[in-house]
Symmetry: C2
Subunit: 236 residues, 2 copies
């Protein structure tokens, strides 16, 4: 499995993904699942995936190739992020169908879910969850975060903390705790983590890697774990 | 769905279950899913279920009838809790098979999972998770709690708090928080809750109902929710 979360707040967007893949408990590997397509000052699009890695990599590879070749279908030519999401959704659905139709008797699940977020100059930032069927939903102020993959362990803390006016730095902290809770309880989600913290209108992104021994992550894990236990001890 | 947790600590046993059942989002009802079979001073057995309600109720009804009729197969005659778990597992597996075989084309899932715990005079307390196939596992000091149903949301807090030497009252508090986290994030789990807090060697149990407006539960939810937010705000 995998765990990815996307958060949209007034200050900008956050996307975080772990890097563990597993095909069975004894086939574990590290693969990036967060990818960025950037034309600085013009548009930023970042995509995270959970599910079949072959499907996700094909989508990401083809998106990059279309941009590199300046194809009219490339997402670098879409006028709005909605169009980007629609194009990525179509490519995803075609990819899933491609493998399914070639393997009618296979029990392999070729589906994958995507989170897509970004901003195009002149437009507002947006965050989408794209389903394997190609359809998608957008985050809204009522539900300012979206999750894919192994999402349940880390959901309670997001539900309690994330609001549209949560500062971006606090959203990062909350996402790290959401990942910590997930990794404590589920082996299929693991460090390192990849993250994009996008400040609205900056039109520039950088994927940051949070290593297993990242000093801030360590400090946060210790403070949160210890804090939870003492909060628990103080309860009526 | 449903959420049930069983905890085994040195001081005794705890079992907690919600009471919401749903067959589709618009068929929600309240049914007890925690049942006790008690011969005061001799043996206590309590069972919680998650999954097909018809299957669970059949198992519980037949267990009660066997005891009432003093049948040799009744769990009131088993010499150890292991034998009780085995007998309940066999009855569960037979029940699941019964409906499956009668409905070979049905897509209904007739399976259900059980938690079973208790103590027989002269023996030690034990806690088991019984699968729809009739096999089962016991809690151990390494893993002193077992969950069935909608278990992921409420797992992180159990992982952080529950140890074999956790006092029984603290285990109750922790289970209530685990349920609170689950109910905040998932509509299929709902109040009221049923609970058995069994003190080792007391050989007596009482199912307690925690109502939606239970003052302690309210206080706990408020203290935990508020405490989490201020702990979060204080993090580095």
């Amino acid at each position: 499995m995998t765990y990815c979360v996307g958060i949209q707040v007034a200050e900008g967007l956050l996307m975080m993904a772990d890097t563990r893949t597993n095909a069975g408990i004894d086939r574990i590997a590290t693969f990036p699942k967060l990818h960025a397509f950037v034309q600085p000052g013009e548009r930023v699009v970042f995509v995270a995936s959970a599910g079949n890695l072959g499907t996700a990599q094909r989508v990401v590879f083809l998106l990059g190739r279309q941009i590199a070749a300046d194809e009219p279908d490339g997402i670098h030519r879409c006028p709005t992020l909605f169009d980007v999401a629609e194009r990525v959704g179509d490519l995803l659905a075609r990819t899933v169908r491609r493998y399914r139709e070639a393997n009618p008797d296979s029990t392999v699940n070729f589906a994958c879910d995507l989170l897509l977020a970004g901003q195009i100059a002149g437009g507002e930032p947006a965050l989408y969850q794209i389903y394997p069927e190609g359809n998608f939903i957008a985050a809204t102020p009522d539900t300012p975060y979206l999750q894919i993959g192994e999402s349940k362990y880390g959901k309670p803390i997001l539900d309690r903390i994330i609001r549209p006016d949560t500062p971006l730095t606090q959203a990062v902290k909350c996402a790290l705790i959401s990942f910590d809770s997930t990794m404590q309880s589920n082996l299929s989600v693991g460090m390192p983590l990849d993250m994009v913290a996008y400040r609205k209108d900056s039109l520039e992104v950088r994927i940051e890697r949070i290593a297993a021994d990242d000093p801030y992550m360590r400090k946060l894990q210790k403070a949160w774990g210890g804090g939870l236990r003492s909060l628990f001890a103080q309860l009526p």
